[in-house]
Symmetry: C2
Subunit: 64 residues, 2 copies
């Protein structure tokens, strides 16, 4: 099992949004994340890149 | 290490596009996939959903 860490790209650094992410769904311009614990998070963001070797997802937001 | 299998959503089934995927990058309306062996693939597709527990990514294409 390979749960992912989700980061949001900022100006200078990447901010950790959610850990132990089991699933990600794209719903229009939103992303729905769910952890193995059932915690859900919905974000207006896009996927920029995914590094599967390090189980790392980087998102960006259209503003801010 | 958790390499991913990438599938393309079809009408009836999901078609395997690439295995042992190490990285995915979003470049406009294209996705750039790279395997642990350095094989690269560029697709006009979008991410629909990712199942990290099963290391499974499902894409869709705007046409076909």
């Amino acid at each position: 099992m390979c749960m992912a860490k989700v980061y949001l790209e900022g100006e200078d650094e990447e901010e950790l949004v959610l850990e132990e992410v089991a699933t990600l769904r794209v719903d229009g311009d939103r992303l729905l994340l769910e952890t193995i614990f059932g915690e859900q998070k919905s974000l207006a963001a896009r996927i920029e890149r995914i590094d599967f070797l390090n189980s790392r997802i980087v998102l960006s937001q259209p503003f801010g």
